[in-house]
Amino acid sequence: MSDVISVSSYLDYTTGDALVDTKVPGGPIAERWDRRRFEAKLVNPANRRKHTVIVVGTGLAGGAAGATLAEQGYRVVQFCYQDSPRRAHSIAAQGGINAAKNYRNDGDSVRRLFYDTVKGGDFRARESNVHRLAQVSVEIIDQCVAQGVPFAREYGGLLDTRSFGGVQVSRTFYARGQTGQQLLLGAYQALSRQIAAGNVEMHPRTEMLDLIVVDGRARGIVARDLITGRVDTYLADAVVLATGGYGNVFHLSTNAKNSNATAIWRAHRRGAFFANPCFTQIHPTCVPRSGDHQSKLTLMSESLRNDGRIWVPRQAGDTRSPADIPEDERDYYLERIYPAFGNLVPRDIASRAAKNVCDEGRGVGPGGQGVYLDFADAIARMGRDAVAAKYGNLFEMYERITAEDPYRVPMRIYPAIHYTMGGLWVDYDLQTTVPGLFAIGEANFSDHGANRLGASALMQGLADGYFILPATLADYLARTPADEVPADHPAVSEAVFAVTDRLYQLLSNNGDRTPESFHRELGELLWDHCGMARNETGLRKALDRIPVLRAEFWERIKVPGSGTDLNQSLEKANRVADYLELAELMCLDALHRAESCGGHFREESQTPDGEAARRDDTFCYAAAWEFTAPGQAPVLHKEDLVFEHVHPTQRSYA
């Protein structure tokens, strides 16, 4: 297979032309979105029916986009690999959704949400995009309420909000711990209405396996019906990818088991630049793994850190049960190192600190990969009932998984991969470098910079899907000549062949290793060297190892069954094959960005007190990588980031 390469070096990457976002209008930042919408061309309502738009994915971004585009009169053809659009992984988001409504009269504003998001992203996001996100945020809440999303309410019947993720204003709307579920079901219901009305042609259990690019424009996809195994082509005037992030490249993450990077990676191979792949977010409060059988990690709300105290034994190798460790032999390390913020330091700091103490051999639980989150003081202070009222459902979830009662035994937590800020590079219109190919939601790189704030992922997915894409896509469709792509166009046949050939290779190889075993090995490699803390040595080691592992994959992979029916091993193997390529780009990006920022912590770039040290002079850009050829070094295109409204500062929590 062409993908099998000898150990090459991604280190030979070259730097190409700088990338400029030509779509962003000038003028005052608060007027840019209005201006863009005014300058955008419109499609006559009578003509919309003639335009076919493919939407891949049915999460918050995809579901919202599909419903909205269909409502406007476009012909939408939509795909999801799940058996129903309602199962997209947005459903698992717990915390809430931010919006600059200022219902609390606590000083919030669009400007403040914009400011917080840029700062939270550690100054690696595009100001114009973030400002637009903050503007649109208020409309999202209106839209969702109109759909019947049951947000939490006050006794007066008005919406309740809370503060979230270390922000000083209370701007997070929520529906208990299931905000993502409720928002997704709102979008799903709107989409279902369009499906029933015949405006959306929905293809569940159908996975996109390649992008069809004709004459430089995205014109369709190749997708496999997971039930019949049939590989079909679907042609359209534009393609929208709403396929989520790539956190599952780490094998263990809080992503759904089948969330994958194939759609965006295949698009990348067809010409879409991939931006900032090393920007991945770790969530500090997940249930630790219980053994090698672990298949995924479960996140628990960060709010636990409001009352729980994090500690490990002072001595390495202390295997006593927590109750037997006296107070003076415990190390409440966050309170010790960061006395001002204590257990409430930001996600990345809490995560790295946990890793450090575990690396010192002071971790607890199976494999020493965990730290205690102790509620004994909280129970003594507030009483068991108050703790139960606040955290009862989380305690229950924890006990279900671990069979330990957090009221009596301290919880064990450990960080896990949770979200990926990187993704396909998009301009202000959310269009990738392939004309006609758009990326929305977590699949793109746009709004969170190097670190995403809590409750902002839902906001971005819905902003992109309901409001931003429908406006910008119209401009593309209006400006692009409508012409049919013949079904037998060479580019179509070539894409189909590439897909079927790869599936054939996987099925016929008959090796001796399962797809899962490769995934696990790759995940461990990445977690060790491109996880919470990264350094040059480790990254180079990973960059050496990945091509070898990839070659081994194509030699030793074993996929039983056939390609003509439901074959979950085949699906998995095909996804792992893409992870094995994406992982290399991730490590290269992490290596080249010799600074620490947001979720990307380079050990070489830290302040004397262990803080992430950003290097704005050298790295104040988004790194967009261009695919060249399989196994060949990519080309780096830098999009310089200019900060006119929020001035970069170094954060400090000490």
């Binding site: 909205t68 459903i91 006050e154 579920q181 219980s290």
Partner: protein
């Protein structure tokens, strides 16, 4: 622990299936039920056999993809989803029967995978509020009494897993359908379509081949999200009210 599994194996929708016996060894009590099946599947792949197909995705009990009947009980002995069921609820030497959801409206696709698209069609026939993007009034324009919001939320928690149908002796989808109807009909936003929603959704539910409700309560007992049985009664009330109003 070591276990004997008797699993329904069926190659495709049109082929016959059978209960097939497998032995699994060294199962950790900390494993989830699906991780136990992962272990079996890894072995099967290495033996060159096809692994057992089952739906699963989030593995944290919210997406609703997973679901199997374990020892005759939908999602097994604990009131939770199959992915959140842990092996510590079984004992060494146990024999465990694993079957797919059984209902005419949920035809088997392969092994333990069934086609639940009937649920999507029920939602599509009225399980929404018609609110085109951009048309929404300001969120605080309509206050919603907290009690109504709480009722709506409680019913909106449904994850569409289908355990209610699997557990019901009549393969009825009343609990699923009523959960969405009660969610939306409790809210002022759902008011304008209140009658048409219940009439259309019930009609679709019947057309899809689900059985009727005989109030056995099995659905609510199996529901991993605790949708109450009273939800069905409320739907009946809404239905009769809508018929009277001649919507």
């Amino acid at each position: 622990m070591n276990l004997t599994l008797r699993i329904w194996r069926q190659q495709g929708p049109d082929t016959d299936g059978t209960m097939t016996t497998y032995e699994v060894a060294d199962i950790s009590p900390d494993m989830s039920f699906l991780e136990m099946l992962d272990t079996l599947n890894e072995e099967l792949i290495l033996r060159g056999e096809e692994p057992v197909a089952f739906d699963h995705d989030c593995r944290e009990g919210i997406c609703g993809a997973c679901g199997m009947v374990i020892n005759g009980q939908a999602h097994g002995p604990e009131r939770t989803t199959t992915c959140q069921l842990h092996m510590r609820h079984f004992s060494d030497g146990d024999t465990i029967d694993i079957e797919p959801w059984r209902a005419a409206a949920f035809p088997v696709v392969k092994d333990l995978v069934v086609d639940r698209s009937a649920f999507d069609r029920i939602i599509g026939s009225g399980g929404y509020v018609t609110a085109p993007t951009g048309s929404a009034p300001e969120a605080h324009a309509t206050p919603v009494p907290k009690a109504a919001a709480d009722t709506a939320f409680e019913h909106a928690e449904c994850i569409g897993c289908g355990a209610c149908v699997a557990a019901c002796p009549n393969g009825s989808a009343m609990l699923f359908t009523s959960a969405k109807i009660v969610h939306l009909n409790s809210l002022p936003q759902g008011g304008p379509e209140r009658e048409s929603r219940v009439l259309d959704m019930v009609a679709t539910m019947d057309d899809e081949g689900f059985g009727g409700c005989t109030v056995t309560g099995e659905c609510a007992t199996a529901c991993p999200k605790g949708i109450p049985l009273s939800s069905i009664s409320t739907m009946n009330r809404e239905y009769l009210r809508a018929l009277r109003k001649g919507a």
